[in-house]
Symmetry: C2
Subunit: 752 residues, 2 copies
């Protein structure tokens, strides 16, 4: 056992302290006016009620799954009883711990996020700088907790399971941890995603479109459900997603390191991802603390410049600091852990792997830029949709679908280039021919693993930016609903625009890292197959083999089918919500009374309840389909066929998620583009003119215009795409792999 | 050389005579009133103008492509100069002949279809039975011509190229024919698809939604373009698509038969698809002639029954006759061609293959039923969309996307089951171990080939039903625009509803057969690779190999990207059309004058011209991307990687086409469901009630309701999905394979 395992454990414990420091900073802040508290408490109550019920359901499902897995592995795998029993209980326990850690990080992160929103709103009454810091640190609690718990969980369980086991056997015993994490993540993301969009669609369609009241207006019965949704969907959902990515990446890379450990006897190959992951945590913390709230320009002193943009620059600088430190970290990690335990061409092995890690870090930056191109109003795609909205909702949708489908190309090319380069870099090491599975290029595959590790080093920072989104969104809602002054709203508006940007960018990061992590996982799966079969054929996922082809086709179809279920779930829950909101407006006209003093509050709780029940009921079917399909194929068609399902399913998941995420994001921003008054036409020709053109013959098609209404339809359609189905696919592709990894002994037992 | 080659040639020549008989029957019919002729002539002029310009562009592209292919094969392939020269010129000539045949069948079929519409309209003034016969026979000209020219083309070129060549070398020399066919088909389908939907979207959005005039109203400037579009899109496009499928199936199956010919020395294995294809042609002709117009019930005597449904029954009976005869034909064909030239388990080999062919025929029936389930108003999916339209366009779109994504599952399962079973059936033959490429299961793969042959036996009949659609649609338009009596319109309405059903069903058939044909083609490609490499590794398309994985991922992304380009092209062309129609209404108020006698005709020609130019310009980019991507990957990553691109690209194409076709079809029928007055709600609860419920508390949400408007948005969004991008994908997946087959020598030369 190498002492290096103490690095992630030590850093992990420090990171817990850091999280406590951040949480403490946030919670000590004041909680604003009673009006603010009223709104905030309603959000808190709704969010916690949902989370409690959701995690109770997930806990039941998890315990059931753990028992089934243990029974299956005990009765339906090869080996003597002692070996089978050992495998069964260790996998089940690891599964439950993984599930628990995922649950804790989601739950706690959300708790702090919900507590942060009112404090951000209150800080906004004083300054943008302070509000920014509160929101960012509140979000960082979630971000750091997720990454830390994943790292600590994997490290500790590795440490414990390696007692009495040879170190190379341990990674396969802890894949259950990854399965547990992805199992919980799938339901958390699905449930949260359905919740948030059912509420959002309901609130928008009746409130904004039919009743013509602004967003976050307290007269809208669904408004609290909508604000709750931002937390449970974006915050808890993405947390669970990236918890899974880091876990999958760590376990996958460890499994891939085993064969290199076996040749070199250097345990560094196995522990590499954990150590470099800890360096990433440090880099993220430094990047976060680098941000200077004092540099931010207050809206009242902005003098025409966009205070949101200036604040965003700060976050971008922090991100680059994190990336630069990550590059240094991955080189140091490679040097310390891998050193020269293998020969390589031209340069030492650790340099090649350091470069491979750098490729992963560059990929994360590329993803951020590509996402920005496709979803920000500054570029062609969003403008194209905005222009199409002039001819009505149908052309808005057609144009958005076209943009969404188009935007799969660049990210996929980026992934292909990153995989190709990191593979080539890794291939520069010279693997002694004695290595057991020389049928594949072990160095090359490990190169792709290092790239994945590199990409995920900035995970904590990215997650902090991501949770920042719902916090600022909620702060804006609280400010609006509690009737604060214009100047306060200027500050929360600036924050909100920053939050919208970060949310879109982190979704790109989420799918990119999910793709790489999944690639690791199925490489790891093939390694596991090899340990059973000891034949080069274990590495052949040959599509011209009919069962593999069929499984692959089913894998791809599963992606479409799963997306359908997720989208339909939102549609159904939203329909219930729409009917409820309409009912309240109809049966209780006092909600919309002319004079403010005559008004009564709508029944927020009922809407919250409809979202909660709808989401919990609807998340089960897609979740179960996702878990059972690969298992069925593995049982019927065997372990090689299921590898085909994994790989093509992963490709399909990546491409489909890009379509859904970016298409949805582009519609969203096309609407914002129009609301900002950038869509302008020439009165005579009807042609679209420059977004800043002015003059007597220019008409601005802004809020309330027909074009705006069409863009709201686009935005609404995009909602379940980008916030339910898309992010759930991130999780699904990892779940496919972890399910298969855990149940590999079953498939091999049935198809020896 | 076997005498069997004369069977397809003889049957093909007879089929040509049959086509002439059909065309003659139609053209001898009377051409109605002068008002009808005015409309019909405008359609004829527009369609021919487009077709002439389109085929001129395609001809230029084809000649260019043929030259490039010849040059590439001559300079960049292995072997001595004589061999290379032979390959180069034969491929280029085959390419041009394939392109020409595809062009002739598309052009002539369309010509007769456009001539049939007025004759159908005129016959409708007399009886439904006569109108049905005219429309069906007019459509059958196109259907039989397509299949016959494909069969004759392949047979004749096979006959000619086999002079001086050993028979097993010939199939690879004629793959150029398939490439030529798919090349033309891609541009024909894309151009036609863009044309028809740009016109349709333009006509609907301004005419129906904004100006509130009915469909096919002569005041709509885009109405002629819309009617022209039905012909050039549905008729010429689908003809080119299925020309390609039959060609691809014939050539692919012939290549797969080579290795069995080499063991058995029975040329029947190679000629099997051509002979069975001729039997299919005979079966289709009998099925078509079986239909009894006299059995049809005239609308005025229908007594409450739906005359369209009764007419549809006749077509269904004809289809089943064709299927039953096809089953008999495939058994006879197997017995005559394959006989007992190979031993098999339990039963004679020909029985096993006869059963495999039957599986294909059953698959075609399954596809028809599944398509019906997802796109007909009788079942859940369409009703779900209709219900969602009550809450507006956004939920209509969300619900339709969800249905579209869902409906990929059953057809894919059907394809998987058919592939699995036919493979197993084929595996029952005992292949002597001496066969060169025993690394794969040659019998099993040939079994899938026979299933494909079986599925495509009814092609001519299906195509006749398909072309029936635009003819009846146009007849309806002519009747409406020339102001015929109500009773005539009842007849054309009944015909139109039949046409809509057949159009949807044949699209399902199109994608199913495209999937199987593509599967054949890449199996054939691997066989070709083997002839160059003589190593079992030629058959391994191993996804765990990084270049293969990358190529596969790019193949899948190509599908998304291509769909994006196709959809965007429609969006752009439609925007121009919308602007033009609005301009005409604005600048020429007399078009919409109150009194009929004050009205002037709008400028139809300008709209026709906008569609024509838009379609021709827009079809080039997606077409070029589709052709160049596999070539680039083959050149850069090599012949095995490109096989990965083919296979995963094909899977993606199939699933995406199902999504686009059925999603679009479901929206279309949800709109029709509402127009038929089936969407009814309870006034008090707002809940949807049974489609035939009535009473004082029931409101029918029919035409002009908000729900109807929402459903029109859904229909419009679905238009480019189901009529442009979806069908183009059918062609694309075959094009990917034929390009690769033709350029295999290049890839092998660059990556020896």
């Amino acid at each position: 056992m190498s002492n290096a395992i103490w690095v992630p454990i030590g850093v992990g414990l420090l990171a817990i302290l850091f999280t406590v420091f951040l949480a403490n900073y946030v919670l000590r802040k004041d909680t604003g006016t009673p009006e603010m508290q009223k709104v905030s408490n309603a959000i808190f109550k709704g969010a916690m009620a949902f989370l409690n019920r959701q995690y109770r359901t997930i806990a039941i499902l998890s315990i059931f799954a753990a028992i089934v897995v243990a029974i299956v592995l005990y009765f339906l795998s090869a080996g003597n009883n002692a070996v089978k029993f050992d495998l069964a209980w260790r996998t089940a326990i690891a599964f439950l711990i993984g599930a628990l850690c995922s649950g804790i990080s989601g739950y706690t992160g959300m708790y702090v996020a919900v507590k942060s929103n009112i404090r951000t709103a209150s800080a906004a009454t004083r300054s943008l700088g302070e509000a920014l810091t509160v929101a960012l640190r509140g979000g960082a609690v979630s971000g750091f907790l997720v990454v830390t718990l994943s790292l600590l969980g994997v490290s500790l369980i590795f440490l414990i399971y390696s007692i009495g086991n040879s170190i190379d056997k341990v990674p396969s015993l802890i894949v259950g941890f990854g399965f547990g994490a992805s199992f919980v993540a799938l339901f958390a993301q699905l449930g949260g995603g359905i919740y948030t969009k059912a509420a959002d669609v309901g609130a928008d369609l009746v409130g904004k479109v039919e009743a013509n009241i602004p967003e976050d207006d307290p007269r809208n019965p669904a408004v609290i459900a909508d604000l709750v949704g931002d937390n449970v969907g974006d915050c808890a959902g993405r947390g669970a997603d990236l918890f899974e990515s880091t876990t999958a990446e760590n376990i996958g890379a460890m499994i891939l390191g085993i064969s290199l450990y076996l040749v070199t006897k250097n345990p560094g190959w196995i522990l590499f991802p954990l150590v470099v992951g800890s360096f990433g945590l440090i880099a993220s913390a430094i990047g976060l603390l680098w941000i200077r709230p004092s540099v931010v320009t207050e809206p009242d002193k902005a003098a025409g410049r966009d205070p949101g943009e200036i604040a965003m620059q700060q976050l971008t600088i922090g991100y680059y600091i994190t990336c630069i430190l990550s590059v240094i970290g991955v080189f140091i990690g490679s040097y310390l852990m891998l050193g020269n335990s293998l020969q390589a061409h031209t340069l030492p092995a650790w340099v090649w792997f350091g470069l491979a890690g750098t490729v992963g870090i560059l990929l994360s930056i590329a993803f951020v830029y590509i996402t920005q191109y496709y979803t920000s109003g500054t570029w062609r795609p969003v403008r194209e949709i905005a222009d199409a909205s002039i001819t009505g909702p149908a052309t808005t949708i057609i144009s958005g679908v076209s943009v969404g489908l188009e935007c799969t190309a660049l990210p996929v090319l980026a992934i292909c280039v990153a995989l190709g380069i990191s593979y080539t870099l890794g291939s520069q090491v010279i693997i002694p021919v004695t290595i057991s599975n020389s049928v594949i290029n072990v160095g090359g595959v490990f190169g792709t693993a290092v790239a994945t590790v590199g990409m995920l080093m900035s995970c904590a920072y990215v997650l902090a930016m991501d949770s920042f989104g719902p916090i600022t969104d909620n702060a804006g809602g609280i400010t609006e609903m509690s009737g604060q002054a214009e100047s306060v709203r200027d500050i929360t508006d600036a924050l909100d625009s920053v939050g919208n940007t970060t949310k879109a960018l982190t979704k790109g990061y989420g799918i990119g890292s999910a793709a790489l992590a999944a690639f690791l996982l199925f490489s790891a799966y093939l390694d596991v197959l090899y340990t059973y079969r000891h034949s080069p054929s274990a590495y052949q996922v040959n599509l011209s083999n009919i069962p593999v082809f069929i499984a692959a086709l089913i894998g791809l179809t599963l992606i479409f089918f799963f997306s359908s279920l997720a989208i339909r779930a939102v549609g159904k829950a939203a329909t219930n919500m729409i009917e409820e909101v309409r009912r309240q407006f109809r049966e209780n006209p006092k909600i919309m009374a002319e004079r403010v003093e005559d008004r009564v509050d709508p029944d927020y709780a009922r809407c919250v309840d409809i979202s909660t029940r709808g989401a919990l009921r609807a998340m089960v079917l897609p979740g179960v389909v996702a878990v059972l399909t690969p298992i069925l194929i593995g049982v019927i068609l065997g372990p090689t066929a299921v590898a085909g399902l994994l790989m093509v399913g992963t490709m399909g998941g990546v491409v489909m998620a890009l379509f859904l995420n970016n298409g949805g994001g582009a519609w969203d921003n096309a609407k914002k583009y129009i609301e900002a008054g950038y869509l302008r036409i020439n009165n005579k020709t009807g042609a679209v003119v420059d977004r800043l053109a002015s003059g007597s013959d220019i008409t601005v098609l802004g809020k309330k215009s027909e074009a705006h209404k069409a863009s709201v339809v686009g935005d609404t359609v995009g909602d379940p795409f980008k916030d339910t189905a898309g992010p759930s696919l991130h999780v699904l592709i990892k779940l496919l792999s972890t399910t298969t990894l855990v149940l590999a002994p079953l498939y091999i037992f049935l198809h020896p």
